[in-house]
Amino acid sequence: MSLALDAVRGELSSRSGGRWEIYAKRAAAAELRVAASVREESERQEDGCAARWEEKARAYFAAATSPALLLDAIRETARLGPGGSGPLPPLPTGTFAQPADPATPAAGDAFEDVAQLLASESKGQARLTSLAVTCGEIVERLENGAGFSGGRARRFGYGNARAIGIASERRVTADVVFPVAPGGGFDAAKVAQSLADRSLLPLKGRACPFPRGELLLDPSVSAAVLAATLPLFCGDAHRMLLSRRYLDRNGRFSSEGVSLVDDPSGEGPFDAEGVPVRRKEVVSDGVFRTRLHDLASSARSGENPTGNAVRLSFRLPPRAGSALFALEGRRSASATELLASVTRGLYATALAAPPRIDLENDAYRLEVEGWALQAGRVRSPVAAATIRGRLSEFWKGIGGVGTDRRLFPLQSLVAAPTLFVTKATFA
């Protein structure tokens, strides 16, 4: 790839002098998907490269799966027109080590283990229908005309399990997405337990007996709300919205003791544009502290870059985001202690539909399943409940944070624990 990138470098230099950037990605992944009648194995090697450059004070973007195709795409994009309204932001400098090409890992088969655990967890009422495990490694290389050159490598893994819950004539499908260790291992017991809950609650449960009360959110539900809230802090798009709707006069975003942290330590020494990264408390002890910027948004807003450029795919230009967004509590308690503290309310164990979070109008709506709780004990299963209200009140109403923080590969990687919310409305 390096020889062919010479031609790309030459083309970009002739067009823009030193105002260019080349990104190249190579990934190796193995996937094993086992279903009742078929076992699908995949071994994939994926390449992608992208270029950004400036001509006549306008930024351009092109992407392709090989340097030769990228060269063609650059020439055609230059004829089509720029990729945005402004110029390319100032590019960073620096030299970092280049990692070796990724190696293809193996994805282990745990279908029988999870199937047996699920059968025992659900007392035979739920059946595993498919289990897919994907793991791999991504190596990214970045260079620009200002003199930056470096690479970073990371390993990834995720899985998806699907089961069917059966009770007399009624059936329901349940899906669980879970993180997988780079070596392919995962907590089969936890996956089976989640599948059993998700398969059986909709069959056994009824409506929530309370119209309002306290709320306990499983880490998977907390993570969905956290991931949907993250855009409020990214770039400069929601700057006014954040201060107008979500912060009080003291700059408070959430209840005391809650911190929202951008932690890019697992991503390498620099972000997707070559800016050095560091850990930042976006919300510290409930008070808003800093925004997360890529180069373009920091240039627009006149603030320093924070090393928060992310690339969702090589096909898209970098944008402001978080490599890992985590919720931390100053005084954390175990999930059991939080459950025991609920006087009357709902324990939302899983989302039944994608969360609807309207940042503009400060509103959220979660369709969940779970358990009705009373005096710190489980009262009855709840098949479906809709929790809705103001998002700003949700964050300011957090009364407890669990110690059971888990990672979730959602729109971005988020880490969230069990959350106790003091007041909520259930439909």
């Binding site: 076992r39 194995e41 995949s42 973007f61 392709a64 195709l69 063609d72 998806n160």
Partner: protein, 448 residues
């Protein structure tokens, strides 16, 4: 006239010789894809931003018993094909390796045709469709060329350009100017579609979402403007895919589920619809497959893996990309027309709601529960159109909903331009549909 990359010249007999030894149980193939995506942001007729992505990939696949193995590479030329066949052979512990080449030449750059003329043409077509209304439109032109080299069969190659438009435009309403959202998807070959877009935008400008939310409860619904295809895509096409786990319809084949007048089929060979293709991604020619015949449930949609001599593939083996295994998936959902006019349909409905577009849907195959999301609707009172309604959901159970379909159908089938990119288990494929106006009784309606 387009920006598509030209595939390299490949030695097809050589590729067949490489893959054939791996077809021990009759199934092995090579799959190539060259695709490009041109993204334009148009604002009031002028191009604000653009980006071009050019991609290629190749994969080799083979079956051993219930084990299906796939190796994929981003290099869609003979060197890439040799690499994936060698890796596949290693995964299968086969000794049939293609010979190594002495120093593989670098993948050549492709001649990409001039995209600027196409950009000018599409900008003027879009500007004409908006009739001087201020607009912000995102246009994505996806062009894919696919080549399948199956062991023991003739290779087949086809290309499909598809256009997706979404955005908003300023409509003059009784309450003053308001921005209205729209989305519209069409195969590029459909020349009349921009005229259809112009009519649709006019209709949207006149009847956008109203301030009143639909009343929660049970209602009779008339599905117009091809939206019945969206309904059948969720309640019939997905449950009839041969790999659908524990589908509610699996044991009801040949049962009568709908009135006798209802004919529904999957028609990938309809290239005028968004989900069309001449040959599927396993090299099987596309053909019409009945899903509901005279109201009776017909057989499932099959790929080669889930076929046998008595039940051959229906030409529905589809792959989102070269990196994915093929699976049986629906394509264009086509509902046969009836003979009723729009007035007759409204009269037959009586009181209920009228829906012209859905912007999302889902189905739980095991429970049979489905949900369709509509951005706007209109109340109907005693056969007359009433006030515009806000966004909401239609929900129900598939067998009950099929039984509640009315026998009277509209005389004119219309393409459903909102049914376009369908995601199942994270795999996204183009789909389409066409349907006449249709009434479904006793649907659960809820506001969003």
């Amino acid at each position: 006239m387009s920006h598509r990359p030209t595939p390299p010249t490949l030695d097809l007999p050589l590729l067949s010789r490489w893959i054939e030894p791996l077809a021990k149980e009759g199934l092995a193939d090579l799959f190539f894809e060259w695709k490009s995506e041109l993204h334009l942001s148009l604002s009031d007729g002028s191009v604000g931003a653009s980006a071009l992505t050019v991609e290629s990939a190749v994969s080799a696949r083979a079956r051993r018993g219930n084990r299906v193995v796939l190796a994929a590479s981003p290099r869609a030329d003979e060197a890439g094909a040799r690499d994936v066949v060698r890796r596949l052979a290693a995964m299968l512990s086969s000794s049939h390796f293609p010979k190594s080449a002495d120093g593989s030449p670098a993948e050549p750059g492709r001649a990409i045709e001039d995209p600027t003329r196409w950009t000018k043409k599409i900008s003027s077509l879009v500007a004409r469709a908006f009739e001087d209304r201020p607009h912000k439109v995102e246009i994505r032109r996806r062009h894919a060329t696919r080549l399948v080299v199956p062991a023991g069969r003739a290779p087949s190659q086809h290309e499909r350009p598809r256009l997706s438009l979404h955005g908003e435009f300023l409509a003059d309403t009784r309450g003053g100017p308001k921005w209205r959202a729209f989305n519209f998807h069409l195969p590029e070959a459909d020349d009349g579609a921009f005229e259809e877009l112009r009519h649709r935008l006019r209709a949207l400008a006149g009847t956008g979402p109203g301030p009143v939310a639909p009343t929660a409860g049970t209602a009779d619904v008339v599905l117009e403007n091809g939206s019945a295809a969206f309904f059948f895509h969720e309640v019939l096409s997905h449950p009839m895919e041969a790999d659908a786990p524990a589908s509610k319809l699996a044991n009801l084949v040949k049962a009568r589920l709908c009135p006798r007048e209802i004919e529904v089929s999957d028609e990938p060979s309809r290239l005028d619809l968004f989900g069309g293709y001449p040959v599927d991604d396993e090299g099987v020619p596309a053909r019409r497959t009945a899903l509901l015949s005279a109201g009776h449930l017909a057989g499932p949609l099959r790929d080669r893996l889930r076929s046998d001599p008595l039940h051959p593939s229906t030409g529905n083996g589809r792959r989102p990309s070269a990196f994915d295994h093929a699976a049986p998936r629906g394509s264009n959902l086509v509902v046969g027309p009836g003979g009723a006019s729009e007035e007759e349909m409204l009269h037959r409905l009586g009181t209920g709601i009228r829906v012209e577009e859905f912007d999302g849907g889902s189905v739980d195959l095991a429970s049979g529960r489905f949900r369709l999301r509509f951005p706007a609707a209109q109340a109907v009172q005693r056969g007359r159109l009433g006030q515009p309604l806000g966004p909401g959901h239609l929900e129900g159970e598939i067998v009950e909903a099929l039984a509640a379909v009315d026998s009277l159908l509209g005389a004119r089938a219309k393409p459903c331009r909102q049914l376009a990119w369908c995601a199942r288990e994270g795999k996204v494929l183009p789909v389409g549909g066409e349907a006449p106006a249709m009434i479904v009784r006793r649907m659960q309606v809820s506001p969003r």
